[in-house]
């Protein structure tokens, strides 16, 4: 009897604990709702101001913390070290070795570029190049003579030429700098960049975070991490893989001296722990908190929330050129597009904290068409469309994605929505590397993925990467002659109105083709110390921390 | 004819060999005993004054008095009545043999004296046990710990498992000494070495571990531990059962020697009547948790009273008649969880009557020293077969 009671009691306790366990959204194993799958691809050029394309969301959200005035600064004590909690580890110091967003956070502080952009206005500004002159065949740059690498060496023309040579070879950067033919040294402070093809967004490309200048000497001396030595306002004092990176102010920097002495970037892969860190005041900035935890950050007395409608577009791509006969049929794809209830997806996967996408590019991209409409949720229409095809009886298909809570939820809703019109969907979660291999081999049927262009960038890189035949990021495996020609034409078109028209046509074509189904634009959150100043949250996640500071 | 001749020859040779072995063993034992004696003399000079010579107080007559002891084991399956109204008295210097089959209650009785009966499930239901006049039932656990190893010591049946494998032999002896006397570690180690020599083990081997000793030597160590503090009462629970015959002889000699020197009383629990004959002054035959016959050695061996005792003697093989069949006692010991109302030996007894099954026979003194619990003796003329032979 005693034994029976004891067993019963124990069982009851175990069940009750197991039931209330597993609360944390992030679970374990490094999920994060922020940059869930891989990298945001970089974009280029065009300086169109971010228009009111966010639809009024930004009015409630704080996305910009202004700088203090002169007098305020004089009276304030600044924290010597600002601590940033990263959600993903900085895997390498080599700027040419990845396109990962977190590397951009580092590179903006440690490396210099030919030109740079103002973080708020995206206005082009001199960096290593003090002046430039653009023609159709070449661009002339005047290079400053007082730039120094962190090892004390001066930045020379040879270093610049070497850097671009390496970029042309390297897989992560080669497509971006493909518009450059070669660089000619005119003299010690002048270079001529000969263009292989004309590109309107050339200067924007040169401001891209990993199109940066490295030291030829260091790069050759240490193949692994020599390129981590840059000429930016901060130098890498310590880097421990999987743990942290320490940046210290570089006193010989040629430009404006930042106010914070050092930045400590800590790798905190577990979402809830990272959020607690910012609430405790252990960190000053919390990257990518999960949407559900944002309220906690706001309610703490040490921290606050910043938010902005992100550049990141989550989409479903359907492989229209693969072995799957049904998916090659445009009407089938359109039926699928109408069958999906995207509002449900936003509620279920993002807790309502996302913006319904209306076109195939994000609002911050130039030539974004605010009036374009994506396919509406209309299951009746979907059924009807499907019945007009050869596949009216339904068929099977697989949707693949990198395993994580958000994408899994989307996949499951996709499965349910399509089941309603007679299509059986198999949900196929994959780990990071298997997914990349699948996409590289173009063996997928449908995928959930994301695309996040760079600040102020123009549409060329986006359209070229996503929709150009043969591009590595073209997930629909689309190769349409008209599309290819139009992209090329738009790239070189100088007339604004004509250019806009071409890009609007492309957007409409894409929606109609229903191979690229936009789901939603993410809302990007960030947790910050209440006393943080002079920082704005960048919708493409490529934030610039260089000139921010925290008062005590 | 031939066969008999060969047999006779073999018999002769066997007897001669047996005699030689016995002589050799005795010689060896004698030598050991001599050496032991010497050391023992030294120890004796520093030993405690025997209780019977304490000045002033009148020493208790008996070193041990067990009165009407009832011990049960209350297990989940059954209530096992191990000891049922046992009485026993022991004087100083006296050795009593407690003889009985497996399951008779011998070990339980012994454990009860030291209150070592595992509790649960064992329970001492009633009765008193007085050691040197003090009722151990009333003592606190702390007081019991003082008695154990000090006034009353016990040695167990299986020497192979009786010693702690992770401590040296010397440490285990010294532990007893340090527990009960006031001496430093070095003094205790010294005395431990002395005890080893007393039992015939070289002093230097005190630093070795039990697994490095043979069975006989281990048992000697156990004896050394038991006698280290010069107890008044030594309880030996089948000390030689696990040893072979030659070693048996040695160990018994040592025990006898020490017992004589220190005037230790001893309860020798055994089922071997030969050992009883060699070492004991009196005999108690135990059956189903009671003493069914008690007397001096001569009383019980020569003037056997109880049918069970007779059965025990009869079941010994006859060295003079090799071809005779063994005569075991028929049947098995009764189930202690299911004892009958009358005499527990009734269904195995050759002399059973109806009266036996009705009630438990009571203690009946046949002489000053000899009593029996048997209904048959209601008839004063009743004699066993064996007694008739012996007269």
């Amino acid at each position: 009897m005693k034994k029976f009671l004891a067993t019963l009691l124990a069982a009851a306790m175990v069940f009750s604990l197991a039931a209330c366990g597993g609360k944390s959204e992030g679970g374990s194993g490094g999920e994060s709702s922020g940059a869930e799958s891989g990298e945001s691809q970089g974009g280029e050029s065009e300086s169109t101001e971010p228009s009111g394309g966010d639809g009024g969301d930004s009015s409630e959200m704080v996305s910009d913390l202004p700088a203090l005035s002169e007098s305020e600064l004089a009276n304030a004590t600044l924290k010597k070290q600002v601590v940033i909690g990263l959600n993903k580890d900085l895997v390498t110091l080599d700027p040419y070795a990845s396109n990962n967003v977190e590397v951009s956070l580092l590179l903006r502080m440690t490396h210099s570029h030919l030109v740079k952009q103002d973080p708020r206005t995206y206005e082009l500004q001199p960096d290593l190049a003090t002046d430039w002159e653009v023609t159709d065949e070449y661009i002339d740059f005047t290079i400053r003579d007082d730039a120094k690498f962190h090892n004390g060496d001066p930045v020379t023309i040879e270093d610049i030429i070497y850097s671009f040579d390496v970029m042309k070879e390297n897989s992560y950067t080669s497509s971006k700098v493909s518009f450059i033919d070669h660089i000619e040294k005119i003299d010690d402070t002048h270079i001529r960049m000969h263009l292989a093809k004309n590109n309107q967004d050339a200067l924007r490309i040169l401001a891209y975070f990993n199109v940066c200048i490295v030291s030829e000497k260091e790069s050759k001396a240490d193949e692994a991490n020599g390129r981590g030595i840059g000429s930016g306002p901060y130098k890498v004092a310590e880097w421990e893989l999987g743990s942290h990176t320490l940046l210290e102010r570089f006193d010989d920097y040629f430009g404006e001296k930042p106010l914070t002495e050092s930045f400590l970037m800590k790798t905190q892969p577990e979402d809830s722990a990272r959020v607690i860190s910012i609430e405790n005041g252990e960190t000053d900035i919390c990257i990518a908190p999960p949407a559900q935890e944002v309220e906690h950050i706001a309610s703490s007395d040490k921290s606050m929330v910043m938010a902005v409608t992100a550049n990141k577009l989550v989409y479903i791509a359907i492989n229209q050129n693969g072995n799957h006969k049904a998916l090659a049929d445009k009407k089938v794809r359109q039926a699928i597009a109408h069958a999906i209830n995207r509002e449900n997806i936003i509620i279920a996967a993002k807790d309502g904290k996302a913006k319904l996408a209306n076109t195939v590019i994000s609002p911050k991209t130039a030539y974004y068409n605010p009036d374009q409409e994506a396919m509406e949720y209309d299951p009746e229409l979907a059924k009807q469309l499907l019945s007009e095809t050869d596949f009216a009886d339904g068929f099977e298909m697989t949707i693949s994605f990198i395993d994580g809570t958000t994408y899994k939820t989307i996949a499951q809703l996709f499965q349910a929505d399509l089941a309603a019109i007679g299509i059986t969907v198999k949900v196929d979660p994959k780990d990071n590397s298997s997914m990349k291999t699948l996409m590289a081999e173009e063996k997928h049927e449908a995928i959930i993925y994301n695309w996040g262009p760079t600040p102020g960038e123009g549409p060329d890189i986006t359209f070229r990467s996503l929709f150009m035949g043969g591009s590595g990021s073209n997930r629909q495996i689309l190769n349409d002659e008209w599309v290819n020609e139009t992209i090329e034409a738009a790239a070189v078109e100088t007339d604004e109105a004509k250019r806009q028209d071409l890009y609007y046509q492309l957007q409409e074509w894409m929606i109609d083709n229903a191979g690229f189904l936009p789901m939603y634009y993410e809302i990007l959150y960030m947790g910050v110390n209440k006393n943080l100043h002079n920082f704005n949250i960048e919708p493409s996640e490529q934030h610039t921390f260089t000139y921010c500071y925290v008062t005590e | 004819m031939e066969e008999n001749k060969v047999l006779d020859e073999v018999k002769e040779v066997a007897e001669d060999t047996a005699k030689e072995v016995k002589d050799a063993a005795e010689n060896a034992a004698a030598e050991v005993a001599e050496a032991a004696e010497k050391t023992a003399e030294e120890i004796k000079d520093t030993a405690d004054v025997p209780a019977s010579e304490q000045d002033g107080k009148a020493a208790p007559e008996y070193v041990l008095e067990i009165d009407d002891l009832y011990v049960e084991y209350d297990t989940e399956d059954a209530l096992v009545k191990a000891v049922n109204g046992l009485n026993l008295k022991l004087r100083h210097g006296e050795t009593v043999g407690l003889v009985g089959e497996t399951g008779a209650g011998k070990t339980t009785t012994a454990l009860s004296i030291l209150r070592l009966v595992p509790d649960p499930p064992g329970v001492i239901k009633s009765g008193s046990i007085k050691v040197e006049g003090q009722n151990v039932m009333e003592l606190s656990e702390a007081a019991m710990q003082e008695i154990r190893g000090n006034d009353v010591a016990m040695i167990f049946q299986d020497p192979m498992t009786a010693l702690n494998p992770v401590f040296t032999v010397g440490e285990q002896i010294a532990e007893t000494i340090r527990l009960h006397t006031d001496c430093t570690k070095d003094e205790a180690d010294e005395k431990a070495g002395d005890m080893l020599e007393v039992v015939g083990i070289p002093r230097a081997r005190g630093n070795e571990f039990p697994h490095q000793f043979s069975g006989g030597m281990k048992q000697r160590v156990v004896i050394a531990i038991a006698l280290a503090c010069n107890p008044k009462l030594l309880i030996a629970d089948e000390p030689t059962t696990a040893l072979d015959v030659t070693i048996q002889a040695q160990v018994l000699d040592i025990m006898r020697g020490l017992k004589d020197q220190f005037n230790t009383s001893m309860i020798m629990i055994t089922h071997d009547l030969g050992i009883v004959a060699e070492t004991c002054d009196s005999v108690a035959i135990i059956y189903a948790g009671r003493i069914v016959e008690y007397g001096t050695l001569v009383d019980v061996f020569k003037h056997t009273l109880h049918p069970y005792t007779e059965g025990l003697f009869n079941s010994l093989p006859n060295i003079h008649n090799r071809t005779a069949k063994l005569k075991p006692i028929k049947g098995l010991m009764c189930d202690p969880s299911n004892l009958p109302v009358g005499c527990p030996f009734a269904d195995r007894c050759n002399y059973v009557t109806d009266a036996c099954k009705e009630k438990l026979p009571e203690q009946r003194y046949v002489s000053d020293t000899h009593y029996v619990c048997c209904t048959a003796y209601d008839d004063p003329n009743f004699r066993l077969e064996r007694s008739k032979e012996n007269g």
Binding site: S28, N280 | E141, R148
Partner: protein, 309 residues
């Protein structure tokens, strides 16, 4: 005894060979193309092929394995494919954190489990025993990342006594040690209990009681040392486990240990890194086993005698 230790140390070499072969073989079989990971999914097939050639990924297995083993004996475990850091020094950079966590959790576990286990055994079948059993069951069933999160919320967030993560001095070690230690505690406690129950039934315990040794002496001096062997075994095994990779705890506490290093390597198919780390971890486990065997000899003289034969 020294000969025994020497012999075991020499035996580590064939173990190294075997481990290296098995690990290398398994890693070879895992899906995912390292060239894709290194080059990125936007790379052209030519670029990927170039990388494959550069890393020698197109050579047959035996050639690659041979090359790896040759380098291994020169002390060169190669470089992480993604981070370009040297594998060997990176592992040892992470090792102190893992060692600290391993020691921390074993200490937490032993501090509580041994007294509870002994208590449980000496009060067998009473309410004390039942309570300890329940605690044990809780410890084993509780998901440890959940426990970690709860501890962080309670002690770091609400009370502010401890930091919420990272390896930054002794204070930061406490919560992760408790998280990892709780499971160990349950295991060791059960082991202690059964081991003690076994020992208490032995004859030499009765001998000790008959000597007049008091209860504490019986339990701790006589019984416990004999019960120690299975406890040491379990503690050693679990020490090795915590050393090599309690990934969940390391993730929750952002603990810069070996576990996360290997885990990150696996998710990114950084074969070179994972192979090197696994081999090193296996070697450490072998060394821990040897240390445990040596400890046995100090506890039980019979075992020591066996080693000297």
């Amino acid at each position: 005894m020294w000969r025994f230790i020497l012999k075991r140390l020499i035996m580590l070499i064939p173990v190294l060979f075997g481990v290296a072969l098995i690990v290398y073989f398994i890693m070879d079989l895992t899906p995912g193309d390292p060239a894709v990971i290194i080059a990125g999914e936007d790379a052209t097939p030519e670029q990927r092929e170039a990388i494959r050639e550069e890393l020698g990924l197109n050579d047959p297995f035996i050639v690659r394995y041979g090359r790896y083993m040759f380098n291994l004996f020169r002390g060169d475990m190669g470089r992480s494919m993604l981070s370009k850091v040297d594998v060997f020094p990176t592992y040892f950079q992470k090792l102190p954190a893992s060692l600290a966590l391993a020691f921390g959790s074993i200490i937490v576990a032993l501090l509580l489990s041994i007294p509870l286990g002994v208590l449980s055994a000496t009060h067998q079948n009473t309410w004390v025993d039942t309570l300890c059993t329940i605690i044990g069951m809780l410890g084993m069933s509780m998901p440890n990342f959940w426990l970690g999160m709860m501890l962080i919320i309670a002690f770091s967030n609400k009370l502010g006594w401890f930091p919420s993560g990272g390896f930054d001095g002794l204070k930061s070690l406490i919560l992760p040690s408790i998280t990892e230690g709780v499971f160990l505690l349950a295991l060791i406690m059960r082991n202690t209990r059964s081991s003690m129950l076994d020992v208490i039934r032995q004859d030499y315990i009765v001998t000790a009681k008959a000597k007049g040794v008091n209860r504490r002496g019986i339990i701790w001096h006589h019984a416990f040392r004999n019960a120690l062997i299975p406890i040491i075994t379990v503690a050693g095994m679990n020490f090795a486990y915590v050393l090599c990779g309690p990934v969940l705890t390391e993730t929750v506490f952002s603990w810069p240990g070996v576990g996360r290093l290997v885990y990150d390597g696996i998710t990114k198919t950084d074969t070179q890194l994972v192979t090197g780390c696994l081999i090193l971890s296996c070697m450490f486990v072998s060394v821990i086993n040897l240390v445990v065997d040596i400890i046995y000899a100090f506890v039980d003289p019979r075992i020591k005698a066996q080693y000297s034969k």
